[in-house]
């Protein structure tokens, strides 16, 4: 009996391998670094972000015949890597009230107040901020990548920015 996976494999196997790998390599070169940094910034762990991006890229390669047709393959990779990193953290008994560990961002940013404010965001809010400001994705692209409705992305982004402003406002109100 044929399965979807087998059909896909057949298609995949018949494709000239060198072309496929060149195409994937090009995608990798263009997006791996950004995805790794984005995941690292979201979870606050650059090393784990890189590992998660590696894992996501490996999965992307496995499914490249399918992923290549997506509007935003990098978005798919970001979400897979992000989910993998969270799952990895659970598996490895690494629990954190906020998974984000600002100290682990590589390199250490100069805007310490903003770093703290970002670290105080929830994971979901941080993810939309990263998609919007690090990856420069639109609302629609972000929604697609995170498997959310655009309205949800807008809402989360709005709340996240309000939270950031509130944190930064409190910081700036302190006497200098």
């Amino acid at each position: 009996m044929s399965t979807g996976a087998a059909d896909a494999t057949t298609e995949h196997v018949h494709e000239p391998r060198a072309d496929r790998e060149r195409e994937f390599a090009d995608f990798y070169e263009r997006h791996h670094g950004a995805v790794a940094r984005a995941i690292g910034a979201t979870i606050g762990d650059a090393a784990l972000g890189t590992e998660a991006a590696d894992e996501a890229m490996a999965r992307a390669y496995q499914r490249w015949h399918k992923i290549r047709g997506y509007d935003n393959p990098a978005g798919w990779t970001y979400r897979v890597g992000l989910n993998w990193s969270r799952s990895w953290a659970r598996r490895h008994r690494r629990q954190d009230h906020r998974l984000h560990r600002p100290d682990a961002i590589d390199p250490r940013p100069a805007d310490v107040d903003l770093e703290r404010a970002i670290s105080a965001l929830s994971d979901d809010h941080r993810a939309v901020v990263v998609c919007r400001y690090l990856l420069d994705w639109s609302i629609e692209t972000t929604a697609d990548a995170l498997d959310l409705r655009p309205g949800t992305v807008k809402s989360r982004l709005s709340r996240a920015l309000s939270e950031l402003e509130r944190h930064l406002g409190a910081t700036e109100e302190r006497p200098s």
Partner: protein, 779 residues
């Protein structure tokens, strides 16, 4: 004008160095191929040959300048040492590491694609000792995993096959009894399933378990096959079974093995043949160890450990309101449970906790990162205990001044490493004490919250905010000093400036002790802040200038022994002033006033609360005589009151739990007592706490359980409790008329007397009662 948030965010993220991540598409391709057996099918045959020879080339001394591991002993008496692995790439990539012998590390490592002609990645065992770094020949063609402790190590893999995307080879187990130098390999009678995707091993004292994952669904419930082998006969499986478990690796603990633990049904066994499906105490509890033949659980927040039904909150155990339990490791050698937990966010904030019964715990501070390293990470670490009782924790060190991961290293804790007992819950006692008290009806002008005062002559002086009788609720409050001379009330006038907008706050600085009365504030005709003193109960006053600046909305905290201190914490910017100099307090970045200042010796103990994201979070601060902050604790965001008080040479923490518990727990060096569970107390509801340094005095109401249901009234009895150790308590009750509800606060405490403010109201109408006032308890 400040930079817009948009610009700041872009600048922030742009600053993350794009060059910090170096990728190589081959890495992804190889990684993908290693699990792509479904798609590639028979095409993978070529890969089998490639991987079969990968890295398995005998004991090969790597050709580099690696200096080998460096042993860094902790300070004398710590009983700990770091074995810092070589910092070069190969050992930096060790997945995990064991200490073997006194100065060697062994562990599985990935081979990087660029290290092989074929550009493929696999697993190998590296041994790093004083003679150099060696790729160990385990005799296994395709290595999956490594386990063991001490000199006895075990490896599992396949013979005649390579990579998981090929048909499985013969399952093989290798054993080393000389700490990984030489190995004997045997093939087994087990046939691995065609779709095995990951093969892992865990060893107990006399058996080992191999777990083969079926399929590639990582992260959820996955199917596994378990095979058990006696360590004396590794070629023949003595038991096999299917298991559907979470994604955790099999783990050795307490003489047994645990498989699966996350959101599933963990299985555990002490013999590898009879498996028990564990029954978690709560739905989300995770099984983390086996102690004395029974499961040990931890809650999903990794904060409460359950040993045989005895639950220990690690936060309370460590006296850390906000413990960093993000890197918690747990294991057991059968008789003793070992837990690594981070107690604060400093690099040396990790502790090793041990217990045999979940009741008595001890703690050993773990060494921080050695010189040359800034940080230590226990992420993806494991902890083992060898036959000699040495606890070995593998970790990654971060070289100073970098943000890169450094070498995989091992922290070794010797069995004789000093530890400090932590007393767990103890049974408190309460005894009734026969004392006497005098009820004093309050002055005509009712006092509101914030009363302070002290004993003078034959009576006492108190300060409070008042609202004149008949005035409306919007009328301003005024501060009022009143003296009770033993028979009547009299108003006390002071030189304080009339209409001082902060007089309400300044009034709280009233000190009444055996030297008389003292205030600080602005006085008519005075220049700057004045010390105002009276030795005749407030009838006459003297003033003297103080080198203190007054700032609006400050909340001064001072005592005679620390009169140069002024703490501004109320309603606005917060800072400390010390003889005119000030230090911004990062601890109080949001408004949060001290609502009590408690002078104890030369120190000031302040407690208050602050708003954090809408939650009132309690805080305690100890200011030394020179103005330095010697203690600072911040409660969690659950809203519970959580304050630290001095008691003899130590401190105790009083925690008032939120509804629906409404319990009071006192924990200190003598143990932890839940007052509501102590015989002699029915249902104690805490109102106020005062510490003298030698004693802790509580005031509250007992027998108010009906309040929890919303039916019935609060108690008409005010209960005083006092203790010099937090465990043994004395009790004295002040009973008002039936039908009243009474509240109270502590105004002053001496060796002989306690002054309590009483607020009473009719339980039915809620109207204030004339019984409100004060009580002097003679003791």
């Amino acid at each position: 004008m400040s930079t817009s948030l948009d610009e700041r965010l872009h600048r922030y993220f742009d600053a993350l160095d794009p060059e910090a991540v170096h990728g190589d598409p081959d890495r992804a391709i190889v990684r993908a191929r290693s699990r792509r057996r479904h798609q590639l099918g028979g095409m993978a045959g070529c890969l089998i040959v490639v991987l079969a020879g990968l890295g398995i080339v005998g004991a090969t001394l790597l050709d580099d300048d690696s200096p080998g591991p460096v042993v860094i002993e902790g300070e004398e008496g710590t009983g700990q040492r770091w074995i810092v692995g070589s910092s070069d790439r190969e050992l930096g990539l060790l997945r995990e590491a064991w200490a073997v012998g006194d100065d060697a590390i062994i562990g599985p490592s990935f081979v990087e694609p660029q290290d092989t002609e074929e550009g493929l990645r696999g697993l190998q065992v590296l041994r790093d000792d004083g003679d150099g770094k060696v790729i160990v020949d385990t005799g296994i063609d395709f290595l999956h995993d490594l386990a063991g402790a001490g000199d006895d190590l075990y490896a599992v893999g396949e013979m005649g096959a390579g990579m998981s995307n090929s048909p499985p080879g013969e399952l093989a187990i290798a054993h080393s009894s000389d700490a990984g130098r030489t190995w004997d390999v045997v093939t087994t009678d087990v046939e691995l399933p065609d779709d095995r995707s990951q093969v892992q091993i865990a060893t107990s004292d006399d058996f080992l378990v191999i777990q083969a994952r079926r399929g590639v669904d990582i992260g959820g419930q996955t199917a596994h096959v378990l095979h058990t082998f006696d360590l004396d006969e590794l070629g023949t499986s003595v038991a096999s079974r299917d298991a559907s478990t979470g994604p955790w690796s099999p783990r050795a603990s307490g003489g047994g093995v645990i498989v699966g633990a996350e959101a599933g049904e963990p299985l555990w066994s002490l013999d590898g043949t009879n498996w028990t499906e564990a029954d978690p105490p709560t739905e989300d509890a995770l099984m983390v160890a086996i102690l004395s033949g029974e499961p040990v659980w931890i809650d999903v927040n990794f904060r409460v450990i359950d040993v045989g039904g005895i639950q220990t909150d690690l936060a309370q155990l460590l006296g850390a309101p906000e413990p960093f339990v993000s890197h918690l490791l747990v294991t057991s050698d059968g008789d003793e449970l070992q837990v690594v937990v981070r107690a604060d966010d400093s690099p040396d904030g990790y502790r090793l906790l041990r217990t045999e019964d979940g009741i008595d715990w001890s703690t050993t501070p773990l060494l921080g990162p050695p010189d040359g390293f800034d940080d230590v990470s226990y992420v993806d670490s494991h902890m083992t205990v060898d036959g000699e009782g040495r606890v070995m924790i593998d970790a990654i060190l971060r070289p100073s001044g970098t943000d890169v991961l450094g070498p995989r290293s091992v922290l070794v804790v010797e069995p004789d490493a000093p530890s400090t007992p932590i007393t767990g819950p103890v049974e408190g006692t309460v005894r009734d004490v026969e004392l006497s008290h005098q009820l004093i009806e309050g002055p005509e002008v009712p006092f509101f919250s914030g009363t302070t005062g002290g004993f003078v002559d034959d009576g006492f002086v108190v300060w409070g905010s008042v609202q004149r009788a008949g005035s409306g609720p919007d009328d301003p409050l005024e501060s009022q000093f009143m003296r009770w001379d033993g028979s009547a009330w009299a108003t006390v006038t002071t030189p304080l400036v009339e209409g001082d907008p902060d007089d309400g706050g300044w009034g709280r600085t009233l000190v009444a002790d055996d030297q008389g009365l003292a205030l600080i504030g602005l006085v008519d005709g005075g220049d700057g802040t004045q010390l105002i003193e009276s030795t005749d109960g407030g009838r006459t006053w003297t003033t003297a200038a103080l080198p203190l600046e007054i700032h609006p909305y400050t909340f001064p905290a001072w005592s005679r022994t620390a009169s140069h201190l002024l703490l501004g914490t109320f309603g606005g910017p917060n800072w400390f002033r010390n003889d005119g100099a000030y230090e911004e307090s990062s601890r109080l970045v949001t408004p949060g006033g001290a609502y009590e200042v408690n002078p104890v010796g030369d120190d000031l103990w302040l407690r208050g609360s602050k708003d954090i994201d809408g939650d009132q979070v309690s805080w305690t601060m100890k200011l030394a005589g020179d103005g330095t902050v010697e203690e600072w604790t911040l409660g969690d965001d659950t809203g519970q009151m959580n304050h630290v008080f001095p008691l003899r040479d130590d401190t105790v923490t009083v925690v008032e739990e939120n509804p629906p518990l409404l319990t009071t727990t006192v924990s200190g060096p003598s143990g932890e007592v839940v007052l509501n569970e102590v015989d002699g107390l029915e249902d104690f509801l805490l109102y106020d706490v005062r510490a003298t340094g030698d004693e802790l005095i509580l005031v509250g109401a007992d027998g108010r359980s009906s309040m929890l249901t919303g039916v019935g009234n609060l108690s008409n009895v005010l209960t005083l409790l006092w203790s010099s150790d937090g465990v043994s308590w004395s009790r004295y009750d002040i009973a008002l008329d039936e039908g009243l509800e009474v509240g109270g606060s502590l105004i002053a405490v001496t060796d002989d007397q306690v002054l309590v403010e009483l607020s009473a109201k009719d339980a039915n109408s809620g109207e204030p009662s004339t019984s409100s006032g004060f009580a002097i308890v003679e003791r």
